[in-house]
Symmetry: D2
Subunit: 291 residues, 4 copies
C-alpha cells in the first residue's frame, strides 16, 4: 500500500535527506529535488530533474526545518538550487499536503490560496519529545568537551524544566551526575525528588548560581543577567531557542564562557533526526486519512 503513495521531498539539509531515506525504507515512493548530494549513506529515493517532477502526483510534499529563512526562498542549502516558496506552491495542486517545520502565518495563508493544506510537523508533541534525546546527547558531548573535570564530578544546573530539560536531566542522572533543576513551577520540585535531582525555585537562582561548574539553560528568556553572570564561573550551555537566556554582551565582558547550542538533533544525529521527522510525516498521513 505504501508503495502506491508518492511523497515529494524538496530542499532541506542532511536531516531531510535522512527523512527521504527513512520514508523510502518504509515503503513509500519518494521523489526528491534540491536535496544535498551525500553518497552511500542515504538512498532508496529518486532524484528528479525538475521541481515539477518531484511534486507531481505526490500525496504530500515535505520541506525542511525551518521551511524558509525569509518566507520567500525554501531552505535549500545546495548552492545550485534556488526554489521559491511561490514556485513550490504553483506546482502543487488542491488536495496535496505541504509538510514542513516552523511554519509561520505567511506560509499558511499562501498555502490556503493554492488550496493546499499546510501542516507543521515540528509542532508535533512526539517529534518534540523524541528530538530531545539527540539534543540531550549533543549537550552532553559539548559539556564533556568543554569541562576540564569529568562530568561525573561536575556540579550541574539545569534552568527550566520543559521537554529538553527533562530529558537532559534524566540523561545526566543516568551518567551518574549530580543534577540540580531550577524552574518557576514549585510543584516540579516533587518530580525532581522522584527522579533524584536537586531543585530550587527559579526566583532564588541569584543567590546560588555560584555553586555550579556547568549550567544548561533551556529558558528562552533573559534569566542570566549581568548580575547573575557576575556570580558564576560556570560554563553556560544555552539550549534555549532564540533569543536564548543569557545577556551575551555581559558574558563577554565578564569572561563567562557561553556556548550557544541550537538545532542539535540535525547536527549531532542527522539520521535519527530524519527518522523522527519521517515518523511525524507518517503520523500526519494517518491522521489525514491517507494511510
Amino acid at each position: 500500500m505504501k508503495q502506491d503513495i508518492k511523497i515529494g521531498v524538496i530542499g532541506g539539509d542532511t536531516r531531510l535527506l535522512a527523512t527521504a531515506h527513512s520514508l523510502a525504507r518504509d515503503g513509500f515512493r519518494v521523489n526528491c529535488y534540491g536535496v544535498p548530494k551525500i553518497k552511500g549513506k542515504y538512498n532508496g529515493y529518486k532524484i528528479c530533474n525538475t521541481l515539477e517532477d518531484a511534486v507531481r502526483g505526490a500525496k504530500a510534499v515535505v520541506v525542511g526545518v525551518p521551511y524558509s529563512a525569509d518566507g520567500k526562498w525554501l531552505n535549500c542549502p545546495p548552492k545550485d538550487y534556488a526554489i521559491s516558496v511561490k514556485a513550490l506552491l504553483c506546482n502543487m495542486t488542491s488536495g496535496q499536503l505541504l509538510l514542513g517545520g516552523r511554519f509561520d502565518a505567511g506560509i499558511f495563508e499562501a498555502a490556503e490560496k493554492h488550496s493546499v493544506k499546510a501542516i507543521d510537523y515540528f509542532a508535533s508533541e512526539e517529534l518534540t519529545v523524541l528530538n530531545a534525546i539527540p539534543t540531550a546527547e549533543g549537550a552532553v558531548e559539548i559539556a564533556i568537551k568543554e569541562l576540564d573535570i569529568s562530568l561525573r564530578d561536575a556540579r550541574i544546573l539545569i534552568t527550566g524544566f520543559g521537554r529538553v530539560a527533562k530529558v537532559l536531566a534524566y540523561t545526566l542522572k543516568g551518567l551518574g551526575c549530580d543534577v540540580t533543576v531550577s524552574c518557576r513551577k514549585k510543584s516540579e520540585g516533587a518530580w525532581c525528588r522522584v527522579y533524584g535531582y536537586g531543585f530550587m525555585p527559579l526566583e532564588t537562582l541569584g543567590d546560588k548560581v555560584d555553586g555550579y561548574d556547568v549550567i544548561f539553560n533551556t529558558v528562552p528568556a533573559p534569566i542570566f543577567t549581568r548580575d547573575l553572570l557576575c556570580n558564576t564561573d560556570a560554563v553556560i550551555i544555552d539550549l534555549a531557542s532564540v533569543p536564548g537566556g543569557v545577556d551575551t554582551d555581559a558574558a563577554l565582558e565578564l569572561g563567562v564562557k557561553v556556548i550557544r547550542a541550537l538545532s542539535l538533533p540535525g547536527k549531532v544525529a542527522p539520521r535519527t533526526a530524519g527518522e523522527i521527522i519521517a515518523g511525524s510525516v507518517c503520523d500526519i498521513l494517518t491522521e489525514e486519512g491517507m494511510l
Copy 2:
C-alpha cells in the same frame, strides 16, 4: 602537618600541573619545575628557577605519565626545558621517593643506584579504576560526535571486560543504551545479566560483528582482524593500550573507520586526572609512613 611536607613536581603535562594544584590545595608545600604555564586555573604551588630548588628537601618528587618517552629525557612538554632522568636522580638524595607513571625496569634500576625509592603511581588499582570514569566519558564524547544516529538508538558492542570496559558499559547503560559485551571469560556473562548488558563469548564474535553501529575495543590484542573487519560497518573506537586491537592496515583498505583513543583522562578531564594522581600520591605517602 601537610604544610610541613614538601613535594617536588617536575615536568609533565597539564594533568601533572593539576596534580600540583590539587596537592597544594590539600595543604602540601608544592615546588614545581618544568611545568606548563597555564594562567589562572591552576595555582597554589611555587615555581622554582632550578631543578635543584624544586627537588631539595622534598619528601617525594612527582613526575609525569609516562615518566619519559625514551627512558632518558623526562616527559616535559614545554620546549624551554630539557630535563634528563639522570639529572633528576643526581639531584635527589637517599630517602626521597620518586613517583611517576609507567615506570620501566630502567628507571627502577637507576633509582636504586641513587638509593631513591621509585614507585609507579599508575600501577595503583584505585587510580586505574578512577581513571576509567573520564576515559568512559571521553569515549562517549567521541561516539556521540562520530555517529549520525543518537547513541540511544545505536547498537553498541564492547570488547573486553576489564576496568575500562566495565565502567564504559555502566556509563552507556546509564545513558539508556543497549550494550553488548564480548569477552573471553564466560562467567562474566552472569555479571552482564546483572547489569543488563547482552553478552557473547569472544570466540563467537566473528559471526555476529555485523550487527553493531559502534564498537568500543578495550583488548590490547589483534581481535579485529581483516576477516572480522570485512563484516562490519561499525565505527570502531579503540581504547586499548598499544598495540590496540585493530588491524589498521586492513581497516584503511576496507574503509572501516577506526578511532584510536588513548590517554583520554588527561585530554578530556585534565583537572580530574590530576586530582586522581594527587590522591594516589597521598595514598603512597601514607603507605610509606610519611603522612
Copy 3:
C-alpha cells in the same frame, strides 16, 4: 517563629501521628487529641485531654485522610474516641484553618457555616507526586512477594500513565526490569521511549495482554473485563482508586489473581507519609500567609 504557631492534630491513623511528630520536629507547637498511642517512635507533641484544649488557639487543625468515612464522624481509629465533625467545627473559631484529606462538598459547606476555611491537603500536586514514591515501593514489595520468578525476569505491564504509573515505571526500570506502559494518550509513547519503556495504546491491550507475568493497573475504570481476563495468566496488582480497574467477579471465576492495593503510603511507610502531609501543611500555611 514556628514555636509561636500552634497546630491541632485530631484523630487519624499512624500516618497522622507521624505528621504531628514531623510538625513538632520542625518547631511547631503541636497539640493532639484522639491520636493512636504508639510508644517511642513518634514524639515531640502534647496529648490533650479534651478536644477543646487541642483546638484552642491553633492556627490550623489537621485531621486524617480520609477526614471521615461517612461525613459525620472523624476518622479516628482508637476505639476510646468518637469525635463528630460537628463537634470539631463547634470548637473551632473564625480564622482557623481546617486541613484534612479527601474533603467532600459537605465538609466545605459545614466549615463555611462556622467561618472556618477548609483546605484539602490531599489535593496538593506535590503531595500526590511524593506519595507515589512509597506507593511504588509498596507495589514492588507485593510483586516480589507474589511472583515465583524474580522481578528482573518478569514481563511487566503498567496500565495508565498518571503520577503513580510514572513513578512506578521509573522505579521498576531502575530495578532492571523490562516495563511496558499502556495508556490512551499516544504522545506518551514518545516519553516512554525516552525512559526506556515499551508502549502500546490502551485500545490494543486486548490482543497483547497475554504476554505479561504481572500487571500493575492504575486506571480507575473497568479496563480488565472478562474478555481480557480470559487471555492472561498474570498477577494483577490493582493500584487504582475505587472502583479499581478489574472485573473482580470474572477474575474470581477465571482464577486470575488480583491484589487490591490501596492507600499504600500509609501502610508501607507511615512515617514518610506523615512527613509528606506535614510538608503539605507547611506549604498551605505559607500560602495562607501564616508562616
Copy 4:
C-alpha cells in the same frame, strides 16, 4: 539431541521441581522421584514410582541444595519419602554424574567409592552471581516491609562487597536509594565511586554505624558486636551465610531488630532459582562432554 538425554531429579524443594520443569522444557527427558507435589505450575517431567526407575539410564542425577542436612538423608521435604544418600548411590552406576548443592567431603568420598563423579553445582560462579539477583530482590522486599519510611529516604549501609553485596548495592541504587558500602579492601572504594555508592573502610565502621536506618550485612563473621549494636537504631538484615555477622544475644538484649534472611532465591523466586540451577546443570553437562 537433548531428548535422548535422561536426567534424574531426586528429592529437593520447590526450587528443584522448578529445575526439573526447566530441564524438561529445554528438551531433556526428566524423571523425578521424591519431589514435592505442586499442581499446574511445574510440569513436563515424569514422576517415577521408585528411586531405581528415576535413576536408571540417567546421564546425571540432580539432588537439592543443600544435598542433605546431616550427610545421611537426602534433602527431601515431602514427608512420605525418606531417601538415604547410600540408597541413592547404590542405585547409581559408574559414569553417571551426581549433581547437588553444598557437597561436603563425605559425599565426594562416598560417590568416588561408587565410581560416580560428584559435582557441586552451587560452586559455579555463574550460579552464585545469578542467585544474587533474587537474593537482592528478597532483601529489598524485607526492607520495604520492615521500615516505616520509604526505602528512597532510608540511609542504607551494606557491609561486605562480595557478589551479593555488589548486586544488592546496584539494585538499591537503581531504586534511587542512597547507599554506603563498608568492606575491608580499600581499593573497592574506587569502584564504589564508579557506581555512586558511599564507601567507608570496615575498620572505621564502629564510629559511624549510628547514621543508618537499615543495614544489610553480607559478611559471615562477627562484625556486629555488642559495642557496635549499642550505637545503632537500624534494622539489620543479615544475609550472610552461617554464622551470620551479628551477636544475636546482644541484639536481643539491646532491642536491635535483626532479620536473618537465608536462602532467599528459593523462597522469593523458586522458579527463577530452579532455572538458574538448570542452567548450571547444562553447563556441567557441556563441560563433561555429555551435551
